[in-house]
């Protein structure tokens, strides 16, 4: 009886997962249908998969937007990592009177709504001639991800036993050598998942992207939105674009699963 219940619960879980994932699955499948089949009623389950949508979409210049996203997101993620890791190292390894206050200040900037600054940010970038530039979004996404990087890395640095750090000091290594030879390798998994999460958040960011770019440096989410207004009736092509847009962040996101909870709760919960 108990075994039967367990099997039923497992089947139910599988069913729930299927329903939950269905919108994404359907998007993925529709990308391989030709336009006629994409909107046919009842929906066709059996069809000749075709790569036509992807060919058309790639021919129509999606590459430029993917490139914008890649440049902006990769550079801002690297910058956020370099700045965030060093700040977290200083905060967690060296006792400072104001360490908590600094940490809470960082997190408050992450929590405050972006719409609270979007208007002046727009005006400032307009005056500097940086509207629709890569630099504008790189700066914003770096600043957006630094607090996350600081908090995540802080909780990883905390896990390192103090004696290890001390031993590097005894060997006469300078702080910097000790950091690169001993500390950094120890937190490597943490650095990687911090970087991946920063990537995902920057890749998906929409408000700054849609308000500050027009054509030259639009990212994938912005292209997605304008594609829908212009060619929203072509579901096959739209699904192909959508699949291309979400694939990087979903796949990289999956790799962060282990540290995801710790990262998103700023170390308040260990996953």
């Amino acid at each position: 009886m108990k075994k039967l219940l367990a099997v039923l619960l497992t089947i139910f879980t599988y069913l729930a997962a299927f329903i939950y994932f269905f919108p994404l699955l359907w998007m993925f499948i529709t990308g391989f249908k030709n336009e006629g089949e994409a909107v046919i009623m009842p929906p066709s389950l059996f069809f000749h998969p075709t790569l036509d949508n992807y060919k058309i979409v790639w021919g129509s210049g999606i590459g430029a937007f993917l490139g914008n996203s890649a440049i902006i997101v990769v550079i801002s993620t690297l910058l956020a990592l370099i700045l965030g890791v060093s700040a977290a190292y200083a905060l967690s390894m060296f006792r400072m009177k104001k360490a908590d206050d600094i940490l809470f200040w960082f997190i408050s900037t992450k929590m405050l709504p972006a719409v609270g600054v979007i208007i002046p940010v727009y005006i400032i970038f307009k005056k500097l001639g940086l509207l629709d530039s890569h630099l504008a979004l790189i700066l914003l996404y770096t600043a957006m991800n630094i607090p996350l990087a600081v908090w995540m890395m802080r909780s990883f640095f905390k896990d390192i036993p103090y004696e290890l750090i001390e031993s590097t000091q005894v060997d006469g290594a300078t702080g910097l050598q000790g950091f690169f030879k001993v500390t950094l390798p120890l937190v490597k998994p943490g650095v990687i998942s911090t970087g991946l999460l920063c990537f995902v958040f920057a890749w998906n960011e929409f408000l700054f992207g849609v308000s500050l770019t027009y054509t030259n440096s639009s990212t994938m989410p912005v292209f997605m939105a304008s594609f829908m207004t212009q060619e929203g009736l072509f579901w096959g092509k739209m699904s192909a674009v959508a699949t291309t847009a979400v694939l990087p962040s979903v796949i990289l996101g999956w790799f962060t699963q282990k540290q995801l909870v710790q990262g998103l709760t700023m170390g308040a919960v260990k996953g």
């Binding site: 879980t13 200083a90 709504p113 005006i123 847009a245």
Partner: protein
């Protein structure tokens, strides 16, 4: 824990400055400008008028207008209902996933996926493939059961957006609650079993109290992020019909980037930040209690 060689501290402290300066430059300075702009009568569509200092006229206009209260109500309903749905379904999924069965890792991966999908795409996929009243899956099933297809986003815009945002955030709640379930102290459970408590009693007296801290984290963080919902609304309803599905962040966008009313949009921005600050105070109180001194 001792501090490490005070002599080496000063140069390393400098490592903090680049981060602090950049974050302050991008988040704090502009906010001061937001406050300043909120006192200006400044519309970018009317460059001839320029910017004029008008004290609290923008705030007065916002608080006198009826849209603001609709928008405030929408924000509250959207946030509260989404949080509730996330909590209930997150808990259910976490309980389902807290068992041992074949393919557990795979299912966890599948459940988490919507969380990583960009809001713009999540909105578009739901709007077209799932909810479209002519060609969407829901329309098909309505037909199978002999019902009329419903134009979900037209008739129930706010409710539909709640469902959509919940779909994205339930995994976040599931993961945190699952982490809680997996860290229930074993000895307490065993003590309970020896005392002859039923599964249900154990759940009420041991698991739930332990979970409360995790639920608190999830709700507080979820609250702050879900309040900022923007992309889903932009691509599905654009805040319409009328103001029926506009929340506070989207209201700023409408006033600022559709109406080009810099003063008005800034004033709404100031109001949002004040509301957020009040909520943040509770989050910080909670976080300080959680970390209690182990931060520095």
């Amino acid at each position: 824990m001792k501090s490490i060689g005070l002599k080496s501290a000063p140069p390393l402290k400098r490592l903090l400055w680049p981060s602090i300066i950049l974050v302050a430059l991008v988040t704090q300075i502009p906010f001061i400008l937001t406050i300043y702009y909120s006192f200006l009568d400044w519309n970018l569509m009317r460059p001839d008028k320029g910017a004029k200092f008008v004290w609290f006229a923008n705030f007065k206009a916002i608080f006198m207008g009826s849209e603001f209260y609709t928008v405030l109500g929408n924000t509250f309903i959207l946030t509260a209902c989404t949080l509730l749905l996330c909590l209930v379904f997150g808990l259910c999924l976490a309980l389902l996933m807290n068992r041992d069965f074949l393919g557990k890792g795979l299912l966890r991966t599948i459940f988490v996926a919507p969380f990583f999908v960009m809001p713009a795409v999540a909105g578009i996929v739901w709007k077209t493939a799932i909810l479209n009243p002519n060609f969407g899956i829901t329309a098909y099933f309505a037909g199978v059961f002999g019902q009329d297809a419903v134009d979900w986003l037209g008739s129930y815009p706010l409710q539909t957006i709640i469902a959509l945002v919940s779909w994205q955030w339930i995994p976040f709640f599931m993961l945190i609650i699952l982490a809680g379930l997996q860290s229930v102290p074993k000895d307490a459970m065993e003590a309970c079993m020896i005392d002859g408590a039923s599964t249900f009693q154990r759940f009420i007296y041991v698991v739930i109290p332990h979970l409360l801290r995790y639920i608190e984290v999830a709700v507080l963080l979820g609250l702050l992020f879900i309040m900022q919902t923007f992309g889903e609304i932009y691509v599905t309803t654009s805040g319409g019909p009328g103001y029926a599905s506009t929340n506070l962040p989207f209201y700023v966008y409408r006033v600022g980037f559709k109406g080009w009313d810099i003063g008005g949009a800034s004033a709404i921005g100031v109001v949002i930040v004040i509301i957020t600050l009040i909520l943040l105070k509770y989050l910080f109180k909670f976080l300080r209690r959680t970390f209690r001194g182990e931060l520095s």
